[in-house]
C-alpha cells in the first residue's frame, strides 16, 4: 500500500505525474504551502509542489543566485535549468522567504539562457506576513488574481462549484493525513516516520483524488495491521526548515529512532488547517491558508507555533526533538534556538542540526550527531 507513495516521492518526474502528462494533462509547479493548490485542481491542472531532489551539481543555481543563499531554491533553479521540469506548463512563485521569492527573477533570467527552462505560465503570488483582517483582504485579492491568471492563460473557467469541489477533495486528504497521524501517535509503531513523511510528500506531487484513494486504503490497512513494538527506539519529533527528502527522516530512523511526528512544510504541518466548504470559496481558501501562522515567515507568532509543537510532542509522546535547518535559513535557524530553549525547559532534549539541502552530502556528519543525540536520550 505504501508503494504508490514511494513511487511518487522518489523522483521528480514520478509515474503519477508522468501518467497525467502522457494523458494530455497540464501540470503547474508551486513553491510554498501558503499557495492553495485547490485553484489548479479546480482548473483541471495537476498542482505539483516543486522539489529539489535529484540535484547533482549546482552550476546553474550558483550562476544566478549569490553565495549566501539557502541551497533549496538553488536546487530548484538547477533542475529547471537542466530541463528536469520540462513537464511543467506553469509555475507559481510565492513569497515564502526572500530566497524563494527571488526564484521568480532567477528562473526568468535562466529562462533566457536555457531554452525551455521557463514554463509558459509564470506567476508571482504574494502572501501577507500577518493574519489581521486587512491582510486577509489582501490575500483574497491575490487568490482572485491567481484564479484570473490561470483562467486566462489556460482558457478554463474556475467556478465556485469547481473550487468547492477541490476544497472538499483536499480536505478529504487532510482528514486522512490526520488519521494517519493519530495512528502514528500510538505506543507501538504502526507506520515508520519515513513512510509517513513519504506519504505527505507524495500528496504534493500526485493527483489528489488518486492520493486520497491510496491513502484511504493505506489507513485502512494500518488500522488492521499488527503494530511493531518500538523495542526501545526513541520517539522523535522532527521540525524546522523546508525538506522534501525522505532520506533525512530515514537517516534518523536508521540511527535507532522512530520519527513519531514531523512539523515540516512538505510534511503534514498544515494538514490541520481544514478549509471551510460553505460560503465564498475564495474567502474560505484565504482563511484556511492564512489563519495559522505555521511558518516563521509569519513574524511575531512564535508562541502560537510553539503551542502547536508542544501539543504535537505531548500527543505523540516525543522523547526528543530534532530541529533541522538549511544553512542561511535564518528564520528557522533562529526559531529553532527558541524552540530548543523552551523544549529543554520542559525536559525534552533537542538536537539542532544545521545542514545543506541536497543529496545528503553531509550524511556521515549528521548520522554521527544523531547517534550521539539518541545515546544521550538513553
Amino acid at each position: 500500500m505504501i508503494t504508490p507513495f514511494r513511487e511518487a516521492a522518489a523522483r521528480i518526474y514520478n509515474p503519477h505525474a508522468a501518467e497525467w502528462f502522457a494523458g494530455g494533462g497540464q501540470i503547474a509547479g508551486y513553491t510554498c504551502s501558503f499557495m492553495p493548490p485547490e485553484i489548479f485542481h479546480a482548473a483541471g491542472i495537476l498542482p505539483y509542489r516543486l522539489r529539489g531532489i535529484e540535484t547533482e551539481t549546482m552550476e546553474i543555481g550558483d550562476a544566478y543566485y549569490g553565495p549566501y543563499v539557502c541551497t533549496f531554491p538553488k536546487c530548484l533553479l538547477q533542475l529547471a535549468g537542466q530541463g528536469k521540469y520540462g513537464f511543467l506548463s506553469g509555475a507559481v512563485i510565492s513569497t515564502g522567504c526572500d530566497a524563494m521569492r527571488r526564484l521568480d527573477e532567477c528562473w526568468r533570467m535562466a529562462g533566457k539562457d536555457y531554452p525551455d527552462a521557463l514554463p509558459e505560465f509564470f506567476h508571482y503570488f504574494d502572501v501577507p506576513h500577518k493574519t489581521e483582517p486587512h491582510a486577509l483582504a489582501w490575500f483574497k485579492d491575490e487568490i482572485r488574481r491567481l484564479i484570473t491568471a490561470v483562467s486566462n492563460h489556460y482558457g478554463v473557467l474556475i467556478t465556485d462549484e469547481n473550487l468547492k469541489s477541490a476544497i472538499s477533495c483536499y480536505n478529504r486528504g487532510r482528514e486522512l493525513l490526520l488519521e494517519m497521524e493519530s495512528l502514528r501517535a500510538a505506543e507501538d509503531v504502526v507506520i515508520s516516520g519515513t513512510d509517513a513523511f513519504t506519504v505527505a510528500v507524495a500528496g504534493t506531487v500526485m493527483p489528489r483524488q488518486r492520493f486520497n484513494e491510496h491513502l484511504e486504503a493505506l489507513v485502512h490497512e494500518l488500522r488492521a495491521a499488527a503494530p511493531e513494538p518500538a523495542n526501545g527506539r526513541k520517539r522523535i519529533l522532527v521540525t524546522g526548515s523546508i525538506n522534501d527528502d525522505t532520506d533525512l527522516v530515514g537517516l534518523i530512523e536508521d540511527a535507532g529512532a522512530v520519527v513519531v511526528a514531523d512539523n515540516i512544510c512538505f510534511g503534514i504541518r498544515s494538514a490541520a488547517d481544514m478549509v471551510r466548504t460553505d460560503g465564498d470559496p475564495v474567502d474560505a481558501l484565504a482563511g484556511g491558508y492564512l489563519s495559522n501562522s505555521v511558518c516563521p515567515r509569519m513574524f511575531g507568532a512564535y508562541d502560537q507555533r510553539f503551542a502547536n509543537l508542544r501539543e504535537k510532542a505531548a500527543r505523540t509522546g516525543a522523547e526528543g526533538v530534532i530541529l533541522q535547518n538549511i544553512r542561511f535559513c535564518d528564520m528557522h535557524g533562529s526559531e529553532n534556538s527558541l524552540i530548543e530553549k523552551d523544549f529543554e525547559a520542559m525536559g525534552i532534549p533537542c538536537l539542532k542540526l544545521e545542514r545543506e539541502y541536497g543529496p545528503l552530502t553531509e550524511t556521515g556528519r549528521m548520522k554521527m550527531r544523531i547517534e550521539a543525540f539518541l545515546e544521550q536520550l538513553s
Partner: protein, 466 residues
C-alpha cells in the same frame, strides 16, 4: 561574551564617546590635535566629522542628543521602542516615544571601536540567533539581549515582506525580551491601489498598537508639526541633492551619509533641519565656486552605491573615496522619494506627498513615507518590475551622472544576494561598470577593509576608471 564587555552599557558608552567627540573642536587646534593621540582607534572617525567643519560637529552633537534621549528616556517617563533604520522615526517623535534604531546604533559601534560590535554580534549567536543573519541588527541587538542598554518597552519594525533577516531579528528580540511587537508588512507592489490601501490600514493598526502600549494618544497638532518639519527638511535635501548633479559634485563625500543618517536619527525634528541648513550652506558655496566636495578639489569619477555603504572602523570607505577623487553620489539609503524632489521626474508614481489637512491625510502621508523608506521601497518586489531596484538604480545613476555602480551589503542580506548578480548584469548591459563587494558593511572579520580596498582598487583600475 567576554566578562569585561559586561562592565559597561552599550548605549552609555556610545553616548559618552560621542559626547566627548562633539567637544573635541571646542578647544584650540593644538588641544584638539593633542586629544587625538588619546583616541587612536576613534581618531580617524572623529577627524572625518571635525574636518567637515560646522556640519560635522553639529552632526556629532545631534547624535549625542539622540543617545541622551535614550539613556534618559525612562527617567523622563518616556517609552523606548526598538526599531529599524527603514522605519521613519517621525511617528515616534509625534507620540513622544524614544526610538532605538538597531542599525544606526550598530554603525556607531562599528565606526567607534577597534573591534567594532563583534562581541555583541557573537553574543547573539551564543543565544541562538543565527550567525548568517544580518550583522546590521546583530551588532547592537547583542547588547540589548545581554541587558546592556536601556530596557526596551516595545518593538516595531516594518520589513516583513521586504527583508526576512531584518524582520526576523526583531521577531527574535520580541520573543527573547518578551516585549510587545508590531511589524508593518508590505505587498510586493508599491503603487497599485490595493498596496496603497494596505499601507494605510496597516499603519492605522500600528498607531492603535502604539497608543495601547504607551498610553499615549496621537496628537494631531504634534503630528502636523512633525510632518511640516519633515517637509522643510526634504526641501533642503532636495536643494542639496539637486546640486549634487553638478560636475564636479559640490558635496563632500560624507554628506550623503550624514543626510540619511540624520534622517534615520531625527526625521521630523528641528535638530535635523538645523544640520541640513548648515550642510546646504557649504554645498551652495562650493557650487557657486565650481568647487568639488572632494578634499583635493579634483573629482575624477562619480560612484553610485546601489545598495548600502561600508561602515567598519574609521569610516574607511569615505576616506578611500576622497583620497581617490571619487564622488559618492548616493546609495539606496540616500533618497526620500518625496513628490517634489527633482529626481522624481519620471518616477512620480513611486513618490509620496505630505498632506496635513486633517488627521486622516496626515496618517496617510506618514504611511506613504514609511512605505518609501530605503529598501522598503525598492526591494520588496521583483527587481525588474516598475519602481523597483533596477529602475531606481538606473534612474539615479543617470540623473547623478554615475561613472560606475557599486554593490555593498552584508552576507546576511538574503534578499539582495538572491538577485544582485542579475541586477549587476543588467547594469553592465546599460553601460555602467558594476562592482560587487563581498565584505560585510558592519563586520570586518568577513573581509578586512584592506582586502575590500584592494578589490576596489582593482575594479577601478581594470575597468579603466582611474
Amino acid at each position: 561574551m567576554r566578562p569585561e564587555i559586561y562592565q559597561y552599557n552599550y548605549d552609555w558608552m556610545l553616548w559618552r564617546a560621542i559626547q566627548a567627540a562633539g567637544k573635541l573642536a571646542d578647544g584650540s587646534e593644538k588641544e584638539t590635535r593633542k586629544m587625538m593621540s588619546y583616541i587612536p582607534y576613534f581618531r580617524k572617525t572623529a577627524e572625518v566629522f571635525i574636518n567637515m567643519g560646522k556640519p560635522g560637529i553639529s552632526y556629532l552633537k545631534r547624535i549625542e542628543q539622540y543617545l541622551d534621549n535614550i539613556v534618559t528616556a525612562h527617567e523622563k517617563g518616556k517609552k523606548i521602542v526598538m526599531t529599524t533604520f527603514c522605519f521613519s522615526p517621525s511617528i515616534f517623535y509625534a507620540m513622544d516615544i524614544v526610538p532605538v534604531t538597531l542599525e544606526v546604533m550598530t554603525v556607531l559601534g562599528s565606526a567607534l571601536w577597534k573591534r567594532g560590535t563583534t562581541d555583541y554580534m557573537d553574543y547573539c549567536v551564543e543565544l541562538g540567533f543565527t550567525e548568517t543573519s544580518c550583522s546590521s541588527q546583530r551588532g547592537c541587538l547583542g547588547a540589548y539581549l545581554a541587558g546592556l542598554g536601556e530596557e526596551i518597552d516595545l518593538i516595531v519594525t516594518n520589513t516583513a515582506g521586504v527583508c526576512d533577516t531584518n524582520a526576523n531579528a526583531f521577531a527574535f528580540a520580541q520573543k527573547y525580551l518578551d516585549k510587545p511587537f508590531y511589524s508593518l508588512n508590505y505587498p510586493s507592489g508599491l503603487t497599485d491601489n490595493p498596496a496603497n490601501q494596505y499601507h494605510r490600514d496597516d499603519f492605522r493598526e500600528l498607531i492603535r498598537f502604539l497608543e495601547s502600549h504607551t498610553g499615549t494618544t496621537l496628537d494631531p497638532d504634534r503630528l502636523r508639526a512633525v510632518l511640516d518639519e519633515t517637509a522643510r527638511q526634504e526641501a533642503i535635501v532636495a536643494e542639496i541633492e539637486e546640486l549634487q548633479r553638478l560636475v564636479p559634485n559640490p558635496l563632500p563625500v560624507t554628506y550623503n551619509f550624514v543626510i540619511y543618517g540624520g534622517r534615520f536619527f531625527f526625521a521630523g525634528m528641528p535638530e535635523y533641519t538645523e544640520l541640513l541648513t548648515d550642510m546646504a550652506e557649504v554645498v551652495r558655496d562650493n557650487a557657486q565656486n565650481g568647487r568639488s566636495g572632494i578634499t583635493s578639489g579634483i573629482e575624477k569619477k562619480r560612484a553610485f552605491f546601489f545598495y548600502i555603504d561600508h561602515y567598519t572602523l574609521n569610516l574607511s570607505l569615505w576616506d578611500w573615496l576622497d583620497r581617490h577623487g571619487i564622488s559618492h553620489i548616493g546609495s539606496i539609503l540616500s533618497r526620500s522619494f518625496k513628490d517634489d524632489q527633482p529626481y522624481m521626474k519620471g518616477m512620480e508614481d513611486a513618490a509620496y506627498s505630505i498632506d496635513t489637512t486633517d488627521l486622516d491625510t496626515m496618517i496617510d502621508s506618514i504611511a506613504m513615507i514609511n512605505s518609501r523608506m530605503p529598501m522598503v521601497r525598492s526591494i520588496r518586489g521583483p527587481y525588474d518590475r516598475p519602481n523597483m531596484w533596477k529602475e531606481e538604480s538606473l534612474a539615479l545613476a543617470r540623473i547623478y551622472k554615475a561613472d560606475c555602480l557599486i554593490y555593498n551589503g552584508t552576507p546576511g542580506c538574503r534578499n539582495t544576494w538572491s538577485n544582485v548578480k542579475l541586477l549587476a548584469g543588467d547594469l553592465e548591459k546599460a553601460g555602467y561598470p558594476t562592482h560587487i563587494m563581498y565584505g560585510d558593511a558592519f563586520d570586518e572579520r568577513v573581509e578586512s577593509w584592506e582586502s575590500t580596498a584592494a578589490r576596489l582598487e582593482e575594479f577601478f583600475t581594470i575597468r579603466g576608471l582611474l
